[in-house]
């Protein structure tokens, strides 16, 4: 590991989808040990940015470097945690087996999981404190437990970068707090963690840095720095000075 190279570097990235420009000149770096919140309105390009980082979309300009190398699906050490509704929770599979599918890409075709893989799954489950539910069918889990399973699946391959897409959606505040603590811990252990969220309070409370996104990264900074500058939020969300959003910002 080269300490001078950021775990994730998005450099001047532009992305077009269906002939329409979605992101332009986007810059963002996330270092190991950092939990960064990506905040912006619907349609700002948050999901597009995540998909570009994963290498699923090719930027029309700029580049994405993971540990100094261009991002490619299956090659870059990235763990992806999709929104909970993306996962087929009615599938008849246990928690441990679901987490094992996080190693499918690393194992490659025709190979069966061995002792090393099951150990990695056990470690990942331990990390999100789901060990006691390892044998339970995924369909019987609560929303917070489901989010933990998806995080464990992403952790199984021991990625340097963890991407979380809207992990708090539909969860109550105590569950959000527990997850925020978990994400911060995962960052402290030496991973670069980037999460998109609509939940301003959780983001301001738990993230080390926040990036405001609307077609490009408008500003990055610590929660305290950004909360002190309402103009940035008005630009990002396109709201006026009397918006409830700004009152939440002041309260936080």
């Amino acid at each position: 590991m080269n300490a001078s190279v950021a775990a994730l570097a998005v450099q001047n990235v532009s992305v077009d989808l269906g002939g329409r420009s979605v992101l332009t000149g986007t810059d963002l770096t996330v270092d190991r040990g950092e939990l960064v919140g990506l905040i912006g309105p619907n349609g700002a390009g948050k999901t597009t940015l995540l998909r570009t980082v994963l290498g699923l979309l090719a930027p029309s300009a700029g580049r994405v470097l993971v540990e100094g190398r261009p991002s490619r699906p299956g090659r870059a050490p990235i763990g992806y945690v999709p929104q909970r509704h993306e996962f087929a929770w009615d599938f008849p599979i246990s928690v441990a087996d679901a987490v094992m599918t996080g190693l499918t890409g690393a194992l490659g075709p025709f190979r069966r999981p061995g002792a090393a893989q099951w150990e990695a799954v056990a470690d990942a489950l331990e990390r999100v404190r789901m060990t006691s539910l390892a044998d339970r069918p995924v369909g019987q889990l609560s929303g917070g437990q489901r989010q933990r399973v998806l995080v464990a699946r992403a952790l199984a391959a021991q990625p340097a970068v963890l991407l979380l897409d809207e992990p708090f959606t539909g969860l109550d505040m105590p569950t959000q707090e527990l997850l925020t603590v978990l994400f911060a811990d995962l960052a402290r252990e030496g991973r670069a963690v980037l999460m998109t969220t609509h939940d301003l309070l959780s983001a301001l409370d738990g993230c080390d840095r926040i990036a405001l996104l609307n077609r490009t990264v408008i500003a990055t900074g610590t929660p305290t720095e950004l909360a002190a500058d309402p103009a940035l939020w008005m630009a990002t969300f396109g709201v006026g000075p009397d918006s409830a959003l700004l009152r939440i910002l002041k309260a936080a």
Binding site: I93, D97, T101, L133
Partner: protein
Amino acid sequence: MNPIDFLTDLLNPDLAFLPKALAVAVMSSIVCGVVGTFVVLRGMAFIGDAVAHAVFPGLAVAFVVGGNLVLGGTIAGVLTAVLVAVFSQNRRLKEDSIIGVFFVAAFALGIVIISQAPGYAGSLQQFLFGSITGIPDSDLYVVAGTGVVVLAVVFLLSKEFVTISLDRESARAMGVPVFRLDLVLYILVTLAVVISVQTIGNILVLALLITPAATARLLTDRLGIMMMLAPVIGGVSALVGLYVSWSWDFPTGGTIVLVLTAAFLTAWFLAPRQGLLAKHRGRNRIRTSEIRATATTALIEPDPDLQPLKAGA
């Protein structure tokens, strides 16, 4: 007719077509049960139906020119699957509309082609509703060989199929070739359908693919068990269906499907956890749980739905 007479008929050299039909029906049920597990879990029943119809022109061409039915059906099925995949790239139409266009077109083409053959009405009925007579010996080997290949591919790629069934985007992000695996799955469905069409018929083959797997899903929350149960349910139903149809002179395909449906309904009502009876019993269980716990601790598995969720979230 009692089962002994059925056994006697099976061994009667004058009725040589009967054991052949039984072997083909049971083998194809087993293959359909395993492949059907993924069809059911991915909500692909409509695609299964489409493939079943799409193989028809291939069967018709093979029939008219006297070629191999399995080969003809496979080519037509795969061709239609590829056409659907290609035309689905147009985002203005959803995939199910494309499938709707192509599978009916394929079926229509099959009807036109088969009308060119002499004795058209009879052979059409045979294709649509199945027949247990006239299975050549070579088909036994083709069905067995194809079945083994299909099962081997499912076994070798089950890890990948599970991964893309759970969550396609994460699978793509891991570098798993989702589109190619989809095509492989379509081809496996096509092969399972083609080897089954002869005995059970083009219209009814969907039941062989869906019903055993759906029945198995009602009975278990474990994929491994489901993939064992579905072929067993399919195979036993094929045996019972053939026996019933032979005894009472019912059409074979229809009888097998009705036996499968009976198995499905039985599971619906009697499944240990999700069944109606189990749900009813669940309400009384709390009262009797203490007595049972002391008497038969080892026999009763606690119902997780009734357990308080453990701490951790």
